[in-house]
């Protein structure tokens, strides 16, 4: 009898393995709640939960330009119970020397969305359009303040504008979109990188959109000019996906991938993303892995061009 119990106990881990997932899955969002990454993964998590058959709990682990959460994800056991919500900052923070974590520390699962950047101004600023802003920036170099997650995408986007337009901003550390919104609504910073998720505030007169960094105007807000048509050759978007710690077993990753694919195809997700003016952009893990590699190279060159490259 005793022996049978022992054998049963010895088999338990195997059984547990084959039944992944048998306990809740933690999804690390490396920024504060209420930011845009949080806003995109909050509606995604219940859909993923539906297809994976286990509770998916979002953990907001902010700090150090989003790299605190990245480090925590990297150091988590590779068992599929910790996932990591990532975007292009993983490349930029590595090359700007903020953190030692790179995309190669993780197993790609899938890419789910793409959000275009919008140059956004505080309602307390005097500019009504890009022309006025440009003139003011030329008159007062290094004085217009930009709230940004340093070394991350919200730093790269205004830096690209600086370079393209030949102007100079001043950067203040506000991590994640949610704290940046607090600061810009109160007029404590002048400009920031935002996106169409903030459209409601623009319509309420709490924010001013200056220009969107897409090839063509966005149908949701056709009056908003693109940077390109204003003569500033900058196209920039932020792509969000799911990663797991390196060494996560292939069957687990495969299971996550298929759940992710099903969740990304849900009409509910499309609807939630439409409200956030974000494109659903699904890539399976193979395509996503190739894309990450290319994007990493791109960000390295970008960091070099902007004079931010530290390695």
């Amino acid at each position: 009898m005793k022996r049978i119990v022992l054998v049963a106990l010895a088999l338990l881990p195997l059984v547990a393995q084959s039944q992944y997932p048998d306990r809740p899955i933690k999804l690390i969002v490396p920024w504060a709640a209420g930011g845009d990454t949080d806003n995109i993964f909050r509606p995604f998590a219940p859909l993923l939960q539906k297809h994976i058959g286990q509770t998916v709990v979002i953990a907001n682990v902010g700090g150090a330009s989003g790299t605190k959460g990245a480090k925590e994800a990297k150091d988590s056991p590779p068992d599929g119970y910790t996932l990591y919500a990532v975007h292009d900052y993983i490349h930029s923070t590595y090359y700007t020397g903020v953190a030692d974590v790179t995309y190669a520390d993780f197993e790609p699962i899938c890419l789910i969305s793409s959000t275009a950047s919008v140059l956004t101004a505080s309602p307390k600023t005097p500019w009504s359009d890009w022309k006025a802003l440009l003139a003011d920036a030329k008159a007062r170099p290094g004085q217009i303040s930009v709230g940004a997650t340093l070394g991350s995408t919200s730093h790269f986007f205004p830096a690209l504008i600086e370079k393209a337009a030949g102007i100079k901003f001043k950067y203040v550390s506000y991590e994640g979109l949610a704290p940046r919104m607090n600061a810009i609504l109160g007029g404590h910073i002048d400009l920031t990188d935002a996106n169409m998720t903030q459209k409601g505030k623009v319509e309420a007169g709490q924010l001013k959109f200056i220009a969107i960094a897409t090839e063509k105007r966005n149908p949701e807000l056709p009056k908003l000019p693109t940077l390109k048509e204003l003569g500033v050759d900058v196209v920039y978007d932020v792509n969000r996906g799911l990663l797991a710690p390196k060494g996560t077993p292939a069957p687990v990753v495969a299971k996550l991938e298929s759940a992710c694919a099903a969740a990304a195809r849900e009409p509910a997700f499309a609807e939630a993303m439409r409200k956030q003016a974000t494109d659903v952009r699904y890539m399976d893990r193979k395509t996503y892995a190739d894309w990450l590699k290319k994007n990493d190279e791109l960000n390295k060159n970008l960091a070099k061009d902007l004079g931010l490259l530290k390695r």
Partner: protein
């Protein structure tokens, strides 16, 4: 606003929210009634159980614990003369006397209904003031936030009963803990001693559990020195039946006192760092000064019970305002509440209400509903609540310790946090033993990152350091923090003079 509130109420009366709210209130009342188990401890123990719930469910439970805890302390305070929580200390002054004089039912129910009225008045303020205050908070730049946090820290350091120097040192120690790990802006590692775990910084929740639950339970264990139970005999035959209408009338016939003490409770709740026990003491003091019969205080006058209980429940409403509008915890209890908000994915602060109106009004509704639930539970269970206090502490405390440890583990499912709990439990115990107050320490741990971030932001925005003083709100807040330290110095000196009879006071 009222539409949103009604929608919130309609939302929360759903079974899936009502159940956690009810259970939270129940656990809060029990925790509050248990002497030696504070509201903070109760919240810490309950929090991990809410991890898997949706945000409003979790927050309804936490709100219930907070409201229930503030009321639960009164049962033992009135019937046994032992305050279940520090905020019920002032309730014993008159409540216990009245109960001993043969009117335990009247004393208890005056306390319960006063809690109810005070809590609802606090709720009116919570719902009315959070929005406007949040709009003011939006005008706060990094300078103002920096100064506000400094004010909170200096107030706590000054208001503790121990020496000012120890209070300030304790706060400083808390700030040092937050410096460990990656810096908040660019992630440079500091004070990590090459230990990978420290590189991520130290989570405040295990620190809080260690310092508050662990260290305090250790001192309790020491005090009881073995398997002793409560020495007070419980008179189970006591008649608690009383005419409810008469009791309610006793409270409502004193509208001036009720409003004034509720106001004091709310005000102290809004001000960071003071807390419920100070609210009830101050309200009691005020009620005595304003009363036409100050000599009756301490002899079992209803006014004394009303003052203490109405103010400590109104205090809950006030402190929820500060957490929701500014994202600043007032004291240890609200610090854990703020942690609970964060864990449930809510970034509290100026934009919280406008961005999460449904959730915010859900919390308001949960707060309001927790009060009738509290009265109901006490009506049915006050007698049983007394039995709870006869549970031997030798059984109770190990159980609380186990729950605390599980809570620390469940936070991230890592053992590292359990070790953090252990280390800070020992540190906290050492601090208690050497007379260092714990509240400034924990506030330092909670505010440290924000102080640093806002300091960096201010300097990045404008290198001129005088802006901290020349910006009116920031300057005013800094001035207030200097004043609070000066006031504490003066008060300590006066106390010393009173005690020793001479003007000499070496230990301020």
């Amino acid at each position: 606003m009222y539409e949103l509130l009604f929608a919130g109420l309609a939302n929360v009366v759903q079974f899936k929210y009502l159940l956690p709210l009810f259970l939270g209130t129940l656990v809060g009342i029990v925790g509050g009634a248990l002497p030696g188990v504070t509201i903070t401890m109760t919240i810490i123990v309950v929090l991990p159980f809410t991890f898997g719930l949706d945000p409003l469910q979790g927050l309804a439970a936490m709100t219930g614990v907070y409201v229930g805890g503030s009321a639960g302390g009164l049962v033992t305070a009135v019937l046994l003369g032992i305050p279940g929580t520090p905020s019920a200390i002032a309730t014993t002054f008159d409540g216990y006397v009245l109960a001993k004089n043969g009117e335990p039912g009247r004393a208890l129910w005056i306390g319960i209904w006063a809690s109810f009225c005070g809590g609802l008045l606090g709720g009116v303020f919570l719902i009315g003031a959070t929005g406007p205050l949040a709009r003011i908070a939006l005008e706060f730049g990094p300078w103002e936030f920096f100064s506000l946090f400094v004010l909170a820290l200096s107030m706590v350091a000054g208001l503790v009963e121990a020496s000012l120097l120890k209070g300030l040192l304790s706060g400083m120690l808390g700030l040092i803990v937050t410096v460990m790990g990656a810096d908040p802006v660019l992630g440079h590692e500091r004070l990590t001693l090459g230990i990978p775990f420290l590189a991520g910084g130290i989570d405040f929740l295990p620190v809080l559990i260690g310092v508050f639950a662990f260290a305090q339970i250790m001192t309790e264990v020491e005090r009881m020195g073995g398997g002793a139970t409560l020495a007070v005999a419980v008179d189970r035959a006591a008649n608690l039946a009383v005419s409810q209408l008469k009791v309610i009338w006793e409270i409502l016939s004193r509208p001036f006192i009720l409003l004034w003490v509720a106001f004091i409770g709310v005000l102290i709740g809004v001000l960071p760092a003071i807390g419920g026990s100070a609210a009830s003491m101050m309200a009691y003091d005020q009620a005595k000064k304003l009363s036409r019969h100050p000599e009756r205080f301490g002899t079992g006058t209803p006014e004394g019970i009303i003052a203490s209980e109405a103010s400590n429940n109104a205090n809950v409403g006030g402190s929820l305002v500060t957490i929701m509008a500014f994202g600043i915890p007032g004291d240890a209890v609200t610090a854990v509440m703020l942690g609970a908000l964060t864990i449930h994915g809510i970034q509290s602060g100026p934009l919280f209400i406008s961005q999460n109106a449904q959730l915010a009004y859900g919390i308001f509704a949960a707060y309001l509903l927790a009060h009738p639930i509290m009265v109901l539970i006490l009506a049915v269970g006050a007698r049983w609540m007394l039995r709870v206090t006869t549970v031997p502490k030798a059984v109770l405390f190990p159980a609380v310790l186990v729950l605390c440890t599980v809570g620390a583990y469940a936070l991230n499912n890592t053992m590292a946090n359990v070790y953090v709990l252990l280390v800070f439990g020992l540190l906290g115990y050492g601090m208690v033993k050497t007379g260092f107050p714990l509240a400034p320490f924990i506030l330092g741990v909670i505010l440290g990152d924000q102080i640093e971030l806002n300091l960096i932001r201010s300097i990045m925005t404008d290198a001129n350091p005088w802006l901290f003083i020349t910006r009116p709100i920031s300057g005013g807040l800094l001035l207030a923090s200097v004043a609070s330290v000066a006031f504490a110095l003066w008060q300590h000196r006066r106390q010393q003079a009173k005690l020793s009879g001479s003007g000499d006071s070496s230990d301020f």
